[in-house]
Amino acid sequence: MCLAVPAHITEKKSDQKATVDILGLTRDISLDLLPDAKAGDWVLVHAGFGIEIVDEADALETIELIEQMPVGFEPTEVPEAFQELGYEPEKRSDYIKPADSGKGSVEEVGAPHE
């Protein structure tokens, strides 16, 4: 029930309302909870209201963070508990496959069944 979807503000109107493009549909939403949102912003929409301005840059940062995560743990930061795990840095390339490699099918790794 707390579902919210990103929408793109195309026009800010009077009375704290805005027109948005939401998954390809044009809708009016209320900006009562986001008085500072402006045309061009991405906002999360829940039940007809914008609830937060969402930032694509933050999304990219999260992805980058995951990309830079070591699999296994770098020797310098191996906590004691991991030392017996036998981490091999070479193994890393085995798990990190390009998205379009065709390996690691959607079912195997748990992406959405759409």
């Binding site: 007809g48 999260t62 906590p79 508990a81 748990g110």
Partner: protein, 384 residues
């Protein structure tokens, strides 16, 4: 969609390669945790407390890729499911009154109360209408001045500010034929009840994404400080959920090594540590805390919301005083235990037999985000 339609690109959050990588890390962390004194020989229980997470985890089949010692359980995350029978009965009774148009979010309409549901009463002639937003209920009130438009107000902090804004708009527009049946609930204190319950036995919490968009992370700090339970706010794509799990396991490992529990955000694109201050202020302007009963959890002090003055006149229980018949729990339904994560839906004897989405027995099977519905709908994925 035209070529120019900009898109907010979330495809990376569904990227199998990234998911695979996180699953590897989760396996390594789980193995390391399994060797610690604290977790040796027992499962590590992570609980998610948001219906949208329940659905996301079931849909992506994330349980089937978890290491053996990681249990993902679902808590009281669906506002419809945690609405207690007396509150549903009250809405049904109000709907039956002449001159009333009852408006509700769609999830609520088929939920059985003690004796009947809104859908059944609608079939018998009650004027019950599904709306997408409380603003639709306001518009309806403006169009039908001779009717009293009542909005069934359920939802957590994601939804409550929206209802607060609607009440404020109604007051400003002088729409006196609009009112709400307030059954909204707040999440953090319910988490206290769960964290302190040894029968539930939570090791770490996946915190709700959009509730946290509104309230930020400060209201959860007590979980880490008082209970030593780490929590992570995460989003709803498979990579979001996996990243959250990875953070929780890292956090637990740190705790076993003498570190302290913390509350973190793995959903930066939509959640700021301070939340949406405008929304929280509006919620506090219109509503004040009260005690309320949750299905399965009983009365949790201060987790309900009632209208504050001068908005008391928008309270439907004042405008349409009714006496619903005495409530009862649905015989055989174990939603109460499902909502506390004590049993998984398939452990209910009715699951998949007497209780299926076409003939639901309890709210957890009716609501699109109920745990029982999620398990049923994606059962082939869960069992894989």
């Amino acid at each position: 969609m035209s070529e120019e339609t900009p898109t907010f690109d979330l495809s990376a959050f569904r990227d199998p390669a990234l998911a695979h990588k996180l699953i590897e890390r989760i396996s390594e962390l789980a193995a390391a945790l399994g060797e610690t004194e604290r977790f040796e020989g027992r499962p590590i229980k992570l609980m998610e407390v948001c219906g949208t997470h329940t659905m996301a985890i079931a849909k992506a089949g994330l349980r089937s890729v978890m290491p053996d010692n990681i249990v993902l359980s679902s808590g009281p995350g669906c506002p419809v499911c945690v609405t207690a029978n007396p509150d549903i009965d009250l809405a049904i009774e109000v709907a039956k009154q002449p001159g009333v148009i009852l408006t509700t979010f769609g999830d609520m309409i088929k939920v059985p109360g003690s004796w009947t549901s809104l859908a059944q009463e609608k079939a018998r002639g009650a004027d019950v209408r599904v709306v997408y937003s409380p603003l639709d209920a306001l518009a309806l009130a403006a169009d039908t001045p001779d009717k009293l438009v009542v909005f069934v107000s359920v939802g957590f902090e994601t939804t409550t500010p929206i209802i607060a804004a609607s009440v404020k708009r109604a007051a400003a527009a002088g729409l006196e034929n609009f009112c709400i049946l307030a059954a909204n609930k707040t999440v953090p204190e319910a988490l206290r009840a769960l964290a302190g319950d040894p029968e539930v036995g939570i090791d770490a919490l996946i915190l709700p994404g959009h509730v946290s968009t509104i309230i930020g992370t400060a209201p959860y700090e007590f979980l880490a400080d008082e209970f030593g339970v780490p929590g992570v706010v995460t989003g709803f794509e498979p990579v979001d959920v996996l990243l959250g799990i990875e953070e929780l396991l890292s956090s637990l490992l740190e705790i076993t090594r003498g570190g302290s529990a913390k509350i973190s955000i793995a959903y930066e694109r939509a959640v700021k540590p301070e939340g949406n201050v405008v929304a929280v202020d509006l919620m506090n302007e219109i509503f004040m805390p009260c005690d309320v009963a949750w299905r399965g959890l009983g009365v949790i002090p201060g987790t309900g919301l009632k209208l504050r003055e001068p908005y008391g006149r928008f309270d439907a229980t004042v405008r349409v005083p009714v006496e619903p018949p005495e409530s009862r729990e649905t015989p055989g339904c174990q939603c109460g235990q499902v909502l506390r994560g004590i049993i998984a839906p398939p452990e209910c004897r009715l699951f998949g037999r007497a209780c299926v989405p076409e003939h639901p027995v309890g709210p957890c099977m009716v609501s699109s985000e109920g745990s029982c519905a999620a398990f049923y709908r994606y059962r082939s994925v869960e069992e894989a």
